[in-house]
């Protein structure tokens, strides 16, 4: 009875939900034989949109009245004239139906549509529809034209040596950039349409025979499950497909670099392309992927290893250093060398606030500066540096509000947070250092360790599309450690990472050791 009452009070009706999300159910009427009537109906469905064009003309040697319906803002008019209107003027006899007309038109990708709803949808997608008087159907002709910027190097993911191209806003151009690198019939691109209002094309790319079928199917299912009115960027897809929606740590990786996605696909991972954004999502992902950069595979293994270790250290510094400083100066000053302890103690006597308050204030100030720097027009960048470094740093120290060592710590932490190549992973770390400062202020180094252990347990419990997030460290896959903290030479990395469960684990031949031919 209680259940019944509950259901009455809070009905869970899926169809009702769909009605809110989906555009109102429109009547699916057939296309009328009269061009005039068909055009009127389309105009009515699209609310007499200003860019909706209906161009009427005589064709087939003046025997038949035709019309093309298209959106002026979205159509390649030159191509329309060349490959539709001109040929129609040349044809002398009227084909028996629309399908036959589609076959003789010199334009690929045409499709016959029969209802007003399909007609309006095709036009909304940027296609042109040809109507012929007396035919109860139309011919959808793909003539859409995007405003597209040229392929250029992404500003946010620059590397020293390596390719200079980056993704653009068109899913098809992006797929082309990937195909350019993987010239193999096993390259797969599946396209779904998501967002009931925005109708965005979302592509799943992977290499058949390498990517794990179960993971591919899981990605497909999670994408198909998305029921939302808009899908405007990769962040939406990331949030709707993640394994842990409340985790601050990202369980998918974002990139604008085709070489990065190519490498991921060849490791058995899956890319998600979204029309309208140059950001491609890569899944599954492990924590250590955020510490890697395409540069690592271009520079020597020694240098790549050194840089990776520095990145890991920077990650830990960003997370732990502010808390550790608060803990040590508040509770465990005896741990420090005597000279350093004296310097800190001397500085502490000149400031009025507890060290935790100073640290939090400075960290917040830096976050404000960083956010302001992002939103500020480029020409003000220098002003920001002056305001940040001089006014806030120097002046607050001179005024005796903040001790100088805190400024050093905060500056170092901020610098360290930029080293991590995975921008979204760095955001999580930036967020999480604040609770650690508070815990350190309350319980010293025990509080710091307590907070760090909470993060560690959370991290090891995460999964990205079924792959343990902390692999290959936890669970430990010793075989895969050659490309985690260190980067072994390529000839020693003959297997793909096991944790991605690739269908084909082998990626190189056995006898790849470089060097001169051995004398027999």
């Amino acid at each position: 009875m209680v259940k019944a009452l509950f259901q009455k009070l809070f009905p869970r009706n899926n169809s009702g939900r769909k009605q809110v999300l989906g555009s109102k159910q429109k009547s699916d009427r057939p296309i009328p034989a009269s061009i005039e009537q068909a055009a009127n109906e389309v105009q009515s469905v699209m609310g007499n949109s200003a860019d909706l064009m209906v161009h009427r003309f005589q064709a087939f040697a003046g025997k038949s009245e035709c019309a093309v319906v298209y959106l002026k803002s979205f159509t390649d008019i030159e191509e329309l004239n060349k490959s539709v209107l001109a040929p129609l003027q040349r044809f002398t006899s009227l084909p028996k139906d629309m399908e036959s007309l589609g076959k003789i038109l010199p334009q690929a990708g045409t499709r016959v549509i029969a209802s007003i709803q399909a007609l309006s949808k095709a036009i909304a997608w940027g296609d042109t529809v040809l109507l012929v008087s007396g035919f109860k159907s139309g011919l959808e002709i793909p003539l859409k034209k995007y405003q597209q910027r040229p392929v250029e190097e992404p500003d946010n993911e620059k590397i020293v040596r390596g390719p200079r191209d980056g993704f653009v806003e068109s899913i098809w151009s992006n797929a082309g950039l990937l195909r350019q690198r993987i010239k193999n019939p096993d390259f797969r691109l599946e396209v779904l349409t998501l967002g009931t209002r925005t109708s965005v094309e979302v592509g799943i790319v992977y290499v058949e025979g390498i990517a794990n079928r179960q993971i591919v199917s899981e990605v497909r299912q999670r994408l198909e499950r998305i029921e939302v009115d808009r899908l405007l960027s990769s962040g939406y897809v990331g949030e709707f497909t993640t394994d842990s929606p409340w985790s601050p740590f990202p369980t998918s990786q974002f990139t604008e670099r085709p070489d990065h996605v190519t490498a991921a696909l060849l490791d058995g991972r899956i890319g998600i392309l979204i029309d309208g954004t140059p950001i491609v999502t890569i899944v599954p992902v492990v924590f250590w992927d955020f510490l890697k950069s395409p540069d690592d595979y271009i520079e020597s293994p020694y240098f790549a290893t050194l840089v990776r270790l520095i990145r890991l250290l920077a990650h830990l510094v960003t997370l732990l250093l502010p808390g550790a400083y608060v803990a040590v100066t508040t509770f465990h000053l005896e741990m420090l060398p005597q000279t350093l302890a004296m310097i800190i103690a001397g500085a502490r006597t000149r400031t009025p606030f507890p060290v935790a308050i100073e640290m939090l204030t400075m960290e917040l100030t830096v976050e404000i500066l960083r956010e302001a720097g992002l939103r500020m027009p480029g020409s003000f960048g220098q002003t920001m540096s002056i305001v940040g470094a001089l006014v806030i740093g120097e002046a607050s120290v001179t005024a005796g509000l903040i001790e100088p060592i805190i400024v050093v710590i905060v500056a170092f932490t901020t610098l360290a947070s930029f080293i991590v190549p995975g921008y979204n992973a760095a955001i999580a770390i930036r967020l999480l250092r604040f609770p650690l400062v508070l815990l350190s202020a309350a319980m010293g180094i025990f509080g710091l360790a307590l907070g760090a252990m909470f993060y560690l347990y959370h991290l090891v419990s995460l999964r990205s599309f079924g792959v343990p997030y902390f692999a290959p460290v936890a669970p430990l896959f010793l075989k895969d450690m050659g490309d985690t903290f260190i980067r072994l030479p390529w000839y020693l990395q003959s297997r793909r990472p096991t944790y991605y469960r690739a269908e084909d684990e082998i990626r190189e031949g056995r006898d790849n050791r470089p060097g001169p031919e051995k004398e027999s």
């Binding site: 815990l439 307590l450 936890a474 430990l476």
Partner: protein, 362 residues
């Protein structure tokens, strides 16, 4: 939480963590107090006895593959007695969680923050414990994958830093036959290694059940070996008198170390490392408590039991009035002399006997 799987290596590492994480601080002082320079013999004796106990537990677990002791005890002893046995295992785990939390937090408080009251430490640790157990066994095993190498790294660094302070004569004579001292010294080590009884609850989670025996025995014997190395190093560095005079000799050793006379007094670092490694052990014990309790009552999920633990653990942890009371009564008397021997030896032996008799009578 059901359907969780861990590998045999993860089980071995978890067992080592469970066996040594608390005992590294507690055991060497007591063993050296009784057995003097023969401490290594006492620990080896304890390790051999613990290995025998592990074999007993494995034989029992082998009779009921895919089930925990809380499940098959009801089939062997009948519903009510079986439930009583299940509750015994739950309460033993819960008790050990509370006692470990009390000991660790009190040592941390006394060593580095004597002015702060105990309850914030206990509360923080309890929240961490319940959170880790809430996540399940797989994340705990993964945390073990990180913490075990970390613990070895910390111990090795300590040994290397402490070695220059060592004098060989302090560990001599190596073969001093002192039967009474050896047996007395073996007992606390055996009690610590007896925490391996958790395999009765963890065995069904192994992804390759055939490797249960080797994984468990490796875990038990390697724990004994690590304890021997640790105890002998402390003996070598501090000698019998100083080692047995301190409650936690390893912390004293850490406090006296320095690197280039610049970085010194590592006690807070060592305490932090000790706490982090122990958090895995305590998380596993809390998980075992919840698993056993939920299976005894017949709950589908362990999580309600963990919510109860959120209240019960702080009450138990804060009950002793002092560290002395905690160590003599709560640890030595109740845990070492009653609960662990019963959970590790007596009850499994009884259950195995009944299982054999029942099998014999068809």
């Amino acid at each position: 939480m059901n359907g969780e799987r861990i590998s045999s290596r993860q089980l071995t590492w978890l067992l080592i963590i469970i066996n040594i994480s608390t005992s590294t601080a507690l055991v060497p002082g007591i063993v050296i107090f009784y057995a003097r320079q023969s401490a290594w013999l006492a620990i080896l004796l304890a390790a051999a006895a613990a290995a025998a106990g592990v074999v007993l537990n494995l034989t029992l677990a082998g009779q009921f593959p895919g089930q925990t002791v809380a499940q098959y005890a009801q089939g062997l002893l009948g519903t009510w007695l079986g439930r009583l046995a299940g509750f015994f295992y739950s309460l033993t785990c819960l008790y050990l969680v509370a006692v470990c939390i009390r000991t660790i937090t009190q040592v941390i408080k006394l060593s580095i923050m004597p002015e702060t009251p105990l309850w914030p430490f206990v509360t923080g640790f309890v929240l961490l414990t319940v959170y880790s157990a809430w996540l399940g066994l797989e994340p705990l095993a993964r945390a073990g994958d990180i913490m075990f190498p970390f613990a070895l790294l910390v111990l090795t660094s300590l040994f290397l830093l402490a070695l220059p302070e060592g004098k060989l004569y302090r560990a001599l004579p190596v073969l001093q036959f002192n039967p009474a001292g050896i047996v007395k010294g073996a007992f606390p080590s055996f009690a610590c290694l007896g925490e391996s009884f958790v395999i009765l609850l963890l065995a069904p989670a192994l992804n390759k059940p055939a490797e249960l025996k080797s994984a468990s025995l490796k875990g038990s014997l390697l724990s004994g070996l690590i304890l021997v190395v640790l105890t002998q190093t402390l003996l070598f560095v501090q000698g019998t008198y100083r080692t047995s005079a301190y409650l936690f000799p390893i912390l004293r050793t850490a406090g006296e170390l320095n690197v280039l006379d610049v970085f010194e007094r590592f006690a807070p670092f060592v305490l932090t490392a000790w706490f982090t490694v122990n958090s895995v052990k305590i998380g596993v014990l809390a998980y075992c408590f919840a698993l056993s309790a939920s299976q005894t009552i017949g709950l589908k999920s362990c999580r309600p039991a963990l919510l109860a633990a959120l209240v019960a653990i702080p009450l138990l942890s804060l009950a002793p009035r002092s560290l002395a009371e905690s160590l003599t009564v709560w640890v030595d008397l109740i845990a070492f002399k009653i609960l662990i021997p019963t959970a590790f030896l007596f009850l499994p032996a009884l259950l195995l006997l009944i299982a054999k008799v029942k099998k014999h009578h068809g």
